[in-house]
Amino acid sequence: MTTAAETIDPAEGNEPSYLSATKGLRSWLFTVDHKRIGIMYLVAVLLFFMVGGLLAIGIRIELATAPGDFVSAQTYNKLFTLHGAIMVFLVIIPAIPASLGNFILPLQLGAKDVAFPKLNLASFHIYVVGALFLLYAIVSGGLDTGWTFYTPYSTSTDTSVIAATTGAFILGFSSIFTGLNFIVTIHKMRAAGMTWTRMPLFIWSLYATSVIQILATPVLAITLLLLTMERWLGIGIFDASMGGDPVLFQHFFWFYSHPAVYIMILPGMGVISELVTTHSRKNIFGYRAIAYSSVAIALIGFLVWGHHMFVSGQSMIASAIFSFLTFGVAVPTAIKVFSWVATLYKGSIRLTTPMLYALAFLFLFTIGGLTGLFLGTLATDVHLHDTYFVVAHFHHTMMGGGLIAFIAGLHHWWPKMTGRLYSELWGKIAFVLVFVGFSVTFFAQFVAGTNGMPRRYHSYDSLSPAMRDLYEYWQSISSIGAYVLGVGMFIILFYLIHSLIRGKRSGPNPWGGKSLEWETASPPIEHNFHGHPICKHGPYDFDEIDHQGA
């Protein structure tokens, strides 16, 4: 763990920080302190982020040239499956809620801890067990179904499907427990004076996320149970030869997994609301609009799963309704984007590293959202379905949205979590590489996709020379972008680790934030606050700070 940081003394007072209050490995692994649990989640998430990222680099090396010369077709299938499964289940879903959220949510509410600290620890242990199952699946034959486990392939392939579905099943409960804990904490643990409309918008977005986690994840659990039974006992419900229906699996799976994409993006939207205000010294434009649109996204998000099945033999009338509802979910998303842009208007924008990522989010996530409308339109989806356009679209939302927001939030709260400042110069250098690398990688895939290049093929050498050359041109550009992106990510890793050892000490409030987490020491003391904090103003009342010449 962060051994170097454990020696840091708190910035103020004599009470030791949460990092040095108790010592030893056991004091971490069996802690009930939400801050330590958040840090352990953070370490785990970053570790798997690196693994998932390296798998992606493997995919990009293969696709840079048309022949399947780097890995075999089977290995390629395993590469993209594991990249997807690790990134979705082990990285993006827990990234913001379980690591940053666990750390920041009680601080922002002015609480000493989450409502159920032991359940919080259990959720981390369950996460580790689930991750071990997924890792076991990798070493015991891999997984080649794609992260979606579509039947009938997932019931007939030789790879370790049951180990992987068991892992995902277990991880689901980790996610449910975090969500349950957050909802109760938000309802019952708010500090005196913290009304619902004085809560930071990050809390609102975590609330909406938690609602989805509780309502959708159990359905994934039962879906994976049915799939496991299908594979193990051959119960036949998804097997057409036994009278079952493979498309039924898709309905089940996407009933969870479409809301799950909002589990991945909503916390990111919350982070952005914190950043565009704090780093532009402006109150948020449309507090209620942003807060309620989070809840609206959570609810409408349950009604759009059918847009994954426009070409799966779903009835036309169902497709038309799902298409309409898909446009509907874009409305609250757009409300948020416009509100953030309006917040920036005439603000004192400081281009700090977290703010740069927040601005990148606005740009990249908007591209991801608008290209989603192409896919939600019935006629264009027939052309674009299962092409690289889809890959580029969901990477713009999941990575350009979810993970960029995670990195933004990590930089924003890093001084609070560790008590150290990282190098702004290296932060900006890495940002340029990440932003340029990402944009090049996935812009190229948009072009390849609109030209009809299907996803999930490991070799495209046997096409007509014209198509082959066209695809190879864009795929090689995409690979170069991915390498640049990878370099940027490693620079982030290095300067963050460096900051733990050599970084300057941070004061309690390096960004001049107004929400409660900035009113305690960096890093916070074990019980978060001296005495009981009282919330006297909204989270974004910046006027007085500007007068002090911040």
Partner: protein, 218 residues
């Protein structure tokens, strides 16, 4: 949330450090349990949707296959579970009124009724297994047209997952009984009894839906 009050005013010995008052801790635990129950309902809703889809595909097979389930046994089990819900509710009431003997008595009866439910279920399962009325590729029954193995797959899965919840209920009720014997519960503090009660009622309600859907197909 109410204004912070010092622990000593309204606290009890199970008050955790991060709560201000016993009331806040009680409310939190109860809200948490309700959310857990919501999660349980959604978990089973997946199975109910699978049932709805299969019944929509094969109504005749469903009608014919359900004849092999024993309505009397299912009905007895329904009565057993409903009675256990009553005794569970009485256990909660006993804890609230600080009636220690009644609390332990009602918990024991609830546990026994849960065991009776499982024993009856065991006889039902053995009968199905002997008749070859098994899920999917293990199906060896005769005299049913269509794909009855899907019905039996769902039957075993739905009642099996429910049965696991009954076993889970027995485990937590035994834990309650141990704590009750230690004298942990009373009018001051009965949150765990009430929350296990909530869980038990959910398990009961799910059975109330399973019974007509599986045993009383029309």
């Amino acid at each position: 949330m109410s204004e912070p009050v010092e622990n000593s005013v309204t606290g009890h010995r199970f008050l955790q450090h991060h709560f201000f008052t016993a009331r806040q801790q009680y409310d939190s635990a109860k809200l948490g349990m309700w959310l857990f129950c919501v999660q349980e309902i959604l978990f089973f809703s997946g199975l109910f949707m699978a049932y709805a889809a299969v019944r929509f595909f094969y109504p005749e097979t469903m009608l014919a296959a359900h004849e092999f389930l024993s309505v009397p046994m299912g009905a007895i089990n329904t009565v057993v579970l409903l009675t256990s819900s009553l005794t569970m509710a009485l256990a909660v009431r006993s804890a609230q009124l600080n009636l220690q003997k009644n609390l332990k008595f009602h918990l024991v009866i609830t546990i026994l009724l849960a065991c009776v439910f499982l024993v009856i279920k065991y006889f039902e399962y053995t009968h199905k297994i002997h008749a070859g009325m098994l899920p999917g590729k293990y199906y060896a029954g005769e005299g049913l047209a269509g794909s009855p193995w899907i019905f039996f797959g769902l039957y075993f899965l739905m009642t099996g997952v429910h049965g696991i919840h009954v076993i889970g209920g027995i485990v937590v009720m035994v834990w309650l009984l141990i704590r009750a014997r230690r004298g942990d519960f009373g009018a001051e503090y009965y949150t765990p009894v009430e929350n296990v009660g909530l869980y038990w009622h959910v398990v009961d309600v799910i059975w109330i839906f399973l019974f007509p859907l599986l045993y009383l197909v029309k």
